[in-house]
Symmetry: C2
Subunit: 218 residues, 2 copies
DNA sequence: GAATCAATCCCCATTGTGTGGTATATTCAC
DNA sequence: GTGAATATACCACACAATGGGGATTGATTC
C-alpha cells in the first residue's frame, strides 16, 4: 500500500456533480491545479451527469447527495444500471446515517464530508482510484457500528422470560417441538405452552412470522 | 474534524496484544517514543490480556488476530462481555474477509494491516481515540462492498425455476400454502408440488430451514 | 398468608406441512 | 418427433403446529 504518490505517470480523470456553483468551481480549480489530477467535466444537476458521464467516462466522480431533481444516490443507481465503470465518492455536508448506507448500497466507494481539507480530498481520490474506500472518521465509525449488532436484548424488549427466550432460540433454528423438549429435558406440552406465550408476546401466529420478526430485529 | 494534533494536553494509553516478541517490542518502542502516546501494557497471548486489561483499562488496544490459545477476536468478545470500555484496533498480516467481519462484529473499531507505516498507525490510534474507525484502504473497500448486495441470483444458483423462485418468495414471507395458491391462482396441490421440488433443490426438509438458508445467503 | 408469576404438564380439536406416488399439457432443444 | 424440463393437478398418510381449555408446583413479592 502506497501513500502520497501519484506524481507523474498517470493522471486521474475526475468529474464533479454539485449544484452549488461556488463549490463546484472551487473543486474544479483545486483538481486542475493539482498535478496528477484533472477535472474533465462538471455538472450542476444529476440529470445532466447521468446523460453525459457514460460518454466522458472519468475515473472518479465527486458526487453531491442533495441535488435539485434526482439525488446523487439515484444518479449513481442510474449509472450503475448501465454498468458504467466509474468510481463514486459522495461529498456532503451532513453525516446522515440513512444517506451513508443508501449511498454505499447504491455503489459509492467513498464518503466524505464537504469540510474535508483539500489535501485529504486529493488523497481520497487517489485512494479510490487504487481500490480503497476513503471515509471521514465519523462515517467510518458509523459503517463499522452497523456490523456491531446492538443486540437490543430481544427477550427484555418483548417481555420474554429466560425460558421463553431460550425456547425462541431453538424455534428460530428450526428445531421441532420434540427436539426442543429433548434438549431441555421437558415435555413437548411444556414447550407448546411456552411457544404459545411467546407468540402471544411477539404478536405472531406462526413459526415463520416469529423467525422473520426475530431476524429482522438484529 | 481535526488532523495531526494530539500534542501535549492528553496522552493516549495503549496496550498491545501480540505473540511475536519482536513486533510487540517494536510497537512498544514506537508508542513510548511518540509524544502523546504511552504503551501501558503488552501481552503475548489473549488469556493474559483478558485477565489483566479490565484492571489496566487502556484507551486503545492494538490486537493481533492470530494468537496462540484464544484468538484476538475471542479476546474482544470476552472483554466486551464485561463491558470494559476499551477501543480495539485489529492488527494483522492478512486481509481475510471473514476475519474482518468477525472482528468488526465482535466490536473492533479499526482494522489495519501490520505493514501499515508507523506514522499511519499513530494517526489511526488518534482516530480511534476520537471516535473514528481507521481501516486500510483495501479493508475499507471490502467493508463497503458488503453493503453492495451482489444479489447472487439465488434462483439460478440453486437451479430453481422462475415459478419455484416466485413461490419461495412467498414461502419465506410466511404465507400459508393456501395464500400462495390464492396469490398465484393455482391449486394448493400445485403449490405443494413446487415446494417439494424447492426443498429438494435447496436440500432442506422444512420451511424454517428454507427461510434460514434463504436469508443467510444475502 | 395471599397474590403473582414462571415453569411445568395434560386434553381435545383443527389446520398446516412434508412425503410418497401419479398424471397431463406445454414448451424447448436436439 | 422424441425426450427433457416445466407447470399444472390430484390422492393419501403421517406428523407437526397451532389454539382453546385447565392444572400444579415453587419462588417471589407485597
Amino acid at each position: 500500500m502506497l501513500y502520497s504518490e501519484n506524481s507523474s505517470h498517470e493522471t486521474i480523470r475526475i468529474a464533479v456533480v454539485e449544484d452549488d456553483k461556488t463549490v463546484r468551481e472551487g473543486l474544479q480549480m483545486l483538481l486542475n491545479g493539482s498535478p496528477g489530477f484533472s477535472c474533465v467535466a462538471t455538472y450542476g444537476n444529476g440529470e445532466d451527469a447521468v446523460a453525459d458521464l457514460p460518454a466522458v467516462l472519468p475515473d472518479v466522480v465527486l458526487m453531491d447527495i442533495n441535488l435539485p431533481g434526482i439525488s446523487g444516490i439515484e444518479c449513481i443507481l442510474a449509472l450503475k444500471e448501465q454498468k458504467v465503470p466509474i468510481q463514486f465518492i459522495m461529498l456532503t455536508v451532513f453525516e446522515d446515517s440513512d444517506d451513508i448506507f443508501h449511498s454505499l448500497s447504491a455503489g459509492a466507494s467513498g464518503y466524505l464530508l464537504k469540510q474535508t481539507p483539500p489535501v485529504k480530498l486529493l488523497e481520497a481520490i487517489q485512494d479510490v482510484y487504487r481500490g480503497g474506500s476513503p471515509m471521514s472518521g465519523e462515517i467510518a465509525r458509523k459503517v463499522v457500528q452497523s456490523f456491531q449488532h446492538p443486540l437490543p436484548d430481544y427477550a427484555a424488549a418483548n417481555g420474554l422470560t429466560k425460558r421463553e427466550d431460550e425456547i425462541l432460540g431453538y424455534l428460530v433454528k428450526g428445531y421441532f417441538y420434540k427436539e426442543i423438549a429433548g434438549e431441555l429435558f421437558i415435555s413437548v406440552e411444556t414447550v407448546r405452552t411456552h411457544i404459545r406465550n411467546i407468540y402471544e408476546k411477539l404478536q405472531v401466529r406462526t413459526r415463520s412470522e416469529a423467525i422473520l420478526k426475530y431476524l429482522n430485529s438484529r
